[in-house]
Amino acid sequence: MSGLFEDFDDIADLAEGLDDPVPGARIMAVIDLTDSADPAAIPHLARAIADEDAGVRKQAAQGLTDFDGPEVAAALVSALTDPDPAVVAAASVSLTELKDPTSGDAILPHLGDANEVKLTACLAGIKELRRPEAMTPAVAALKHAAPGVRAQAVGVIGWLQDETSLPALQEAAHDTDVNVRRTALAAMGFSQSEAAQSALIAALTDPEWIVREAAAETLAKSGGPSCIPALRGALADDYWQVRLKAVRSLGKLGATEAAMEIAPMMDLPVPNLRKECAAVLGELAVPATASYLKKYADDNDPDVRKNVRWALERMAA
């Protein structure tokens, strides 16, 4: 029975379809080349990404997701200036799927590109490849006018986990754009340095709650005893989301001195927050908080009840 198994066709044969005068047929050739998963298809797909038909180019940009290496990256980068936005979008997505660090060779030269869309996509593409050479251009990109570019640049820096980048991240933590600030703070999570801690503490008073939330959350990783007072301050934040993260981080840091401030928060009406408070009171296990916990042993919310019970058991132990 012929055709029982999926084919492993000759790549050169499949590639002939790219010369068909009908665009639809060329699209089919691109799909077949992609499905081959054979690296020998890469040069043909690279050719198709410059086809005269936008549909073919888009399919090629999508198809290259299935491959890796500098040649693939170069073809995708070339598609970032395509006149058709759909092609650019497809190429941008495919760039973020690259895994092979050597793919970065084709991206690095473009990290200062004047074209905003291209630059954003290149930064997003280089991030997961973790190429140290990307640090300098990424830091430079923090000065870019477009917030989207700056956010991607922060991402690149964060993935490199390099203490020398902290001044740049600190600056980004004061960016005018909310998302850049939030990302920059989260990116400091690898460092327990004084620089990271002071930036995170300062951000606990940021005007935007999601920035404060990110700061409070990241302090669980970056923070130390010196951060506890600021986190205690965040317990009075207007947003329960921020308080919740502050409570969690205080628990992580073992801040027993905050226990008596966390305990009264059990009276608040937000179940998610009360649930977290109960868990953290258990972690901190300060006996004086037991009376607050006991009050809520029969809370309406089962998750609160559960955490209260667990906390009381921990204290008893």
């Binding site: 198994f5 890796d68 973790r130 993935w159 999570g189 989301q241 998610n272 089962p302």
Partner: protein, 580 residues
């Protein structure tokens, strides 16, 4: 396409993997990697590129055991407790130990898991004790990435062939009979080892919408795995531990509390209050859900409308892009918005699926079934609550063990008459001039499943079910009629569904106690550890009907201290039903 052709081909291979969804591809890859000379064939009823539960992707790993976040001991403990103690821990423990390696391998394949801004895995806390949820922001790439690996490894892929029966001989596996879903031609595969990854029995109960394919599971998973194992004489474990899920009403898709949970969303009653005590998706949790509905506090909802806009748009981004991307369409059509309303949920129809409960073909920690050379992994094998990562990991175990198994054996001889008998059975509906179409046989079976098998379980009702199923079987065997090969596929599915319905009734009647919350809530019986702290194993009896036996739960590897059991039990609501 679709006309019925007469044809039969026979091929040989070392390892036949049936089902190219999640477990199957991983099994094939591992076997091939371990023994590159082995001829591995991966066969699927659909097209491997987009088949199975993860067809469009997944939004996260529900049960990843990542060093620093959870330990294999913790995980094993939780699964044992969530499964009311009926658990051979060896398979769960091995999974827990090795799944992190599989995550890293999947990562290398190009499957994305959520990383924080420093590129480290961003595990989310959902459960009380450990932390297991690892989101997949680009989860839509999972199937694509797997397919690429299969092509690279040059696995022989056969699409659009449906396996219908296993062949055995010399006391071990010998191969399988398969039918082309577009031509009705037969393919007999002789194999030294067979690995089954045919997914859940997802078309067992009838969704409340009445739409046969409006199921939680990928509707191409119609229970052939269970039926084939049964007819081949393998043991199936704890089938009475049904799968029942908390889903979005009518859409019948996951509400994804797993995604929404860490971001502050939860399942709430009509008052907008949390009511679920149970930490883990389990029968106990479904019982609580059921009680809330019965107690007049329903409907039950997914509640997100207390969250900030920023959080909701993030949740939407995840939930509406991967896994079940039509979910966005559904809410739009209904005019429901997470910001404004809570989203109505309901209790799904029943199915078999160990991925979410524990009903499956019995396997050990090497994914071996009770038939030598026959393996099972994923939703159809009885490693409890193993979800997607369990399918991958246990699939890997099956592939690795099968690669060793084939080294020492040749093809087992089988009885050619078995193939002939199967041909006759399969083609019978094509030999008639008129009769009952498969969709009516299927509808009736599944409607009866809802009427009589949906828990709470009542003995008299289940006995009625058995009588009705007999009648439907008679109609099916004597009067089912198909016009083309596509309908023939549906006819074969109807037959698997009926087999599963029979097994569901029979297994439920055998275990005369209540266990696993709603999954096996038998109103006339309490939990009875003295007599029923055991697996039940269902096999095909000499009379061609299900036979049952008890099997001991293997001694625990991870001890569960009395007080730990209590700690968990204390957290439960005072049970209002016989389950506890």
């Amino acid at each position: 396409m679709d006309e019925i052709l007469d044809g039969l081909t026979q091929i040989d291979c070392d390892i036949l993997v049936i089902g190219g969804g999640t477990a199957g591809p991983m099994a094939a890859l591992k076997a091939k990697k371990k023994n590159p000379k082995a001829n591995v064939v991966l066969l699927d009823k659909a097209n491997v590129k987009r088949s199975g539960a993860i067809s469009m992707g997944m939004d996260g790993l529900n049960n990843s055991v990542i060093p620093g976040y959870a330990t294999p001991e913790q995980y094993t403990k939780e699964i044992t407790v969530a499964n009311d103690g009926i658990c051979d821990q060896a398979a769960v423990y091995r999974y827990a130990q090795e799944c992190y390696g599989i995550i890293q391998e999947l990562d290398d394949f190009g499957i994305r898991f959520q990383k924080d801004q420093n590129g480290e895995y961003d595990v989310k806390k959902v459960h009380h004790i450990g932390t297991y949820v690892l989101p997949m922001p680009n989860g839509d790439t999972v199937k694509k990435a797997l397919y690429r690996q299969l092509r690279k490894a040059r696995i022989n892929i056969v699409n659009r062939y449906m396996a219908t029966r296993l062949l055995t001989g010399e006391g071990r596996i010998a191969g399988a009979v398969c039918v082309n879903t577009r031509t009705a031609e037969f393919l007999v595969v002789r194999a030294k080892a067979v690995i089954m990854g045919l997914g859940a029995a997802g078309r067992l109960g009838l969704p409340t919408s009445g739409y046969l394919y409006g199921t939680y599971e990928n509707a191409s998973n119609s229970g052939e795995g269970y039926a084939m194992a049964y007819h081949a004489g393998a043991g199936l474990a704890n089938l009475e531990c049904y799968q029942i899920n908390p889903l979005i009403k009518d859409y019948n898709g996951p509400a994804c509390a797993y995604v929404a949970g860490p971001m502050g969303g939860y399942t709430a009653n009509a008052q907008g209050e949390r009511f679920i005590e149970c930490d883990y998706w389990s029968g106990q949790m479904m019982q609580e859900f059921y009680d809330e509905l019965q107690g007049g506090k329903g409907p039950v909802y997914l509640k997100l409308n207390h969250l900030a806009e920023e959080t909701i748009s993030e949740i939407e981004r995840v939930l509406h892009i991967v896994e079940r991307p039509t979910r966005g369409h559904f809410h739009k059509g209904r005019g429901t918005d997470y910001r404004k309303q809570m989203i109505e949920m309901h209790i799904s129809e029943i199915g078999f699926c160990s991925g979410h409960s524990a009903s499956g073909v019995f396997v050990d920690e090497h994914a071996r079934t009770t038939i030598p050379g026959l393996y099972a992994a994923g939703d159809m094998a009885n490693v409890p609550h193993n979800y997607m990562l369990g399918a991958f990991t246990n699939g890997a175990f099956a592939g690795l063990d099968a690669a060793d198994f084939i080294a020492d054996v040749d093809f087992a001889a089988f009885d050619e008459a078995e193939v002939e008998a199967e041909r006759t059975r399969v083609l019978a509906p094509t030999k008639r001039d008129d009769g009952i179409p498969p969709n009516q046989i299927e509808y009736k079976t599944r409607r009866l499943v809802n009427d009589y098998l949906q828990p709470p379980k009542v003995t008299a009702k289940m006995e009625l079910a058995q009588e009705r199923f007999e009648e439907v079987r008679e109609d099916m065997e004597q009067g089912m009629y198909v016009r083309d090969s596509h309908e023939l596929m549906r006819a074969l599915e109807a037959s698997s569904i009926l087999d599963c319905a029979d097994m569901a009734a029979s297994a439920s009647l055998y275990r005369t106690e209540s266990r696993w919350g709603l999954y096996h809530n038998r109103v006339e019986y309490d939990r009875d550890d003295e007599n029923w702290f055991c697996h039940t194993i269902l096999t095909k009896g000499d009379d061609g009907k299900p036979a049952h036996r008890k099997q001991e739960v293997k001694p625990y590897i991870v001890e569960i201290a009395e007080d730990e059991k209590d700690a968990y039990n204390n957290q439960r609501v005072g049970a209002s039903v016989a389950a506890e």
